[in-house]
């Protein structure tokens, strides 16, 4: 049994890539190959000009490709936030003045300066995960791999972490590889890779991939509700574009239709006939 087979993948500098797939699809295994936590039995993984097999380059690769994992509690090493952020650069033997500077900078990037002397167990899940990102940033990586880093967070924490990843990608030019099983996180990516049974089955921009609803369904993957809504509307109204990704896009499109046909005049009619008032009473169906 091979966890991965026939994977051929190049990630460009500055890309925001989302890798999607079920548990056991090989997506985390792939991510762990990126910074030599795992080695391929056949074939090779190259980070920049370094082969991950080259033991002398292990640390170079790991500092270039920073990884954040699923459970924040199992990656925070120190009992004080700022000391944990310093852990990576400490391992690299960075001189102390530089160390202090990097810790300040990283905490600022994830907006956690106010918590620098706190104990990690006093923070929320999202805050802890931001500390983990800061800990990776302190090594000044060029690539940030988020290995299911949002899976255990509540929606608020998830949004915090994603916002930071996107900002780092946009403003600092950090390449982001996000492994996830939340389809919705793929919407803002440059590129979406779908994995199944150790192989890459789809690779392309999210807009194109979300069009392939039939194939995604066979892979038991959910299409985000917005895309599904657009597709459903497209099926009923061929003029309505079916490849929309965001709430904003749908709203804009519907408004365009509305403006075109002067919907305001017919509004009364809609209100009276077509919309049932919400069922506010309880236990009517039992």
């Amino acid at each position: 049994m091979h966890a991965l087979a026939g994977v051929n993948l190049t990630i460009e500098r500055g890309e925001y890539v989302v890798i999607l797939g079920h548990n056991g699809s090989g997506k985390s295994t792939l991510a762990q190959h990126l910074n030599t936590l795992l080695w391929p039995t056949q074939g090779a993984v190259w980070g920049k000009e370094w082969n991950t097999r080259d033991v002398k380059r292990t640390l170079d690769i790991r500092r270039t490709v920073g990884m954040v994992f699923q459970h924040p509690d199992n990656q925070i090493v120190a009992t004080v936030v700022e000391e944990d952020v310093a852990f990576g650069p400490e391992n690299l033997g960075i001189p102390r003045e530089e160390l202090l500077r990097r810790v300040d900078w990283s905490l600022e990037q994830v907006e956690m300066q106010a918590y620098r002397t706190r104990a990690p167990h006093q923070l929320s899940g999202g805050q802890k995960q931001r500390i983990c990102i800061a800990g990776v940033l302190a090594m000044q990586p060029e690539v940030l791999v988020l290995d299911e880093s949002t899976a255990m967070l509540d929606p608020q924490g998830r949004n915090e972490v994603l916002a930071i990843a996107h900002r780092l990608n946009r403003e600092q030019g950090v390449t982001v590889v996000a492994v996830t099983h939340f389809m919705r996180e793929a919407v803002d990516a440059d590129r979406l890779i779908v994995m199944s049974e150790g192989r890459i089955v789809m690779d392309g921009p999210p807009r194109a991939i979300f069009q392939e609803r039939e194939q995604l369904r066979q892979l038991h993957l959910d299409v985000p509700h917005v895309s599904a809504l657009a597709a459903e509307l497209h099926a009923r109204f061929p003029g309505f574009p079916g490849n929309l990704l965001t709430v904003g896009e749908i709203v804009k499109e519907v408004k365009k239709w509305g403006a075109q046909y002067e919907v305001r005049n017919t509004q009364h009619e809609i209100r009276d006939t077509d919309f049932a008032a919400p069922d506010a009473t309880r236990n009517t169906n039992h």
């Binding site: 936590l37 500092r63 167990h121």
Partner: protein
């Protein structure tokens, strides 16, 4: 039965303060503690042990730590200690009838030597109690681990994995609140499955092991799962055991710290050799 476990587990019971003892460098505190520990543990002279007791009382007083608070565990343990010491007095008196015999009834014999031994043990226990509680009362536990790491550094040159030991100390402190919370969750979960952990009877002692399994096995299994993940995460952040690391935290020793360490070392040596001599000299003068 309801479950209200402490959510904020504090290891060590640091009482913030700003006394001379509080401000001392953690390394100085550890060294002084070790000197005193050595002195108190290995003296067989009653006079010396009284001198140490007095010394400890002075230090506790100067750290503004309430004496009653520190001594409470001792008071609670007193019945058992007295029970043990009572036996030891009878045993010694029976074994070697040396010294003055105060009381004799059959084989029960109370001698001055045995009593002196008991008093010595008691003084030593009180001194040790004061000594052991002081560092944790006056220093945050993390500071103590930094101090320990820094002090052990020279031993790194003879092959002791100092950084690894410091890492172990830090990570175990990190895991305590996590595992405590997990323990709480496991207890509650088993209770909702009908496991009533208050329902043990002394008539069925063999049930104790079985009653512990539902709580202890998950604790270990989860802890090990976390450990495996943390090991991977540490390596991803370039941790290599034994490699040259720099340290974010740095301790700064002042002149006063050196003075205290050297001073206390001299004091312990002086007490060791001098207390009995001085006492005998004073005794001779009054005699």
């Amino acid at each position: 039965m309801s479950f209200e476990l402490s959510r904020n587990i504090i290891i060590g019971q640091y009482i913030p303060g700003n006394t001379f003892v509080h401000r001392l460098d953690p390394r100085a505190k550890i060294l002084v503690t070790l000197f005193l520990l050595f002195g108190i543990s290995f003296t067989r002279s009653l006079i010396v042990s009284f001198v140490y007791l007095a010394t400890m009382l002075v230090i506790v007083w100067s750290a503004r730590v309430p004496l009653g608070f520190v001594l409470r565990p001792f008071v609670r343990g007193l019945p058992l200690i007295l029970f043990f010491l009572g036996f030891s007095v009878l045993w010694l008196g029976w074994q070697e009838p040396a010294g003055i015999v105060f009381f004799q009834w059959g084989w029960i014999r109370i001698t001055s030597n045995a009593l002196l031994m008991a008093v010595l043990s008691l003084t030593r226990l009180i001194s040790l109690l004061l000594l052991i509680s002081l560092p944790t009362l006056t220093t945050p536990i993390t500071q103590l681990t930094y101090g320990m790491e820094s002090l052990l550094t020279p031993l790194g040159y003879v092959g002791l994995p100092v950084h690894d030991i410091a890492m172990i100390a830090t990570i175990s402190l990190r895991f305590v609140p996590i595992l405590a919370e997990e323990m709480e969750r496991v207890i509650k979960a088993q209770a909702s499955r009908g496991g009533e952990i208050g329902a043990l009877s002394w008539r069925e002692p063999m049930q104790i092991g079985k009653a512990m399994l539902p709580l202890v096995v998950p604790l270990f299994v989860n802890a090990f799962r976390r450990a495996e993940e943390m090991a991977v995460a540490m390596e991803a952040r370039c941790y290599v055991s034994g490699a040259g690391r720099t340290r974010f935290v740095q301790l700064h020793a002042h002149l006063i710290d050196y003075v205290v360490v050297v001073g206390m070392l001299c004091y312990v040596i002086a007490v060791w050799y001098g207390a009995d001599l001085a006492f005998n000299a004073v005794l001779a003068r009054f005699a």
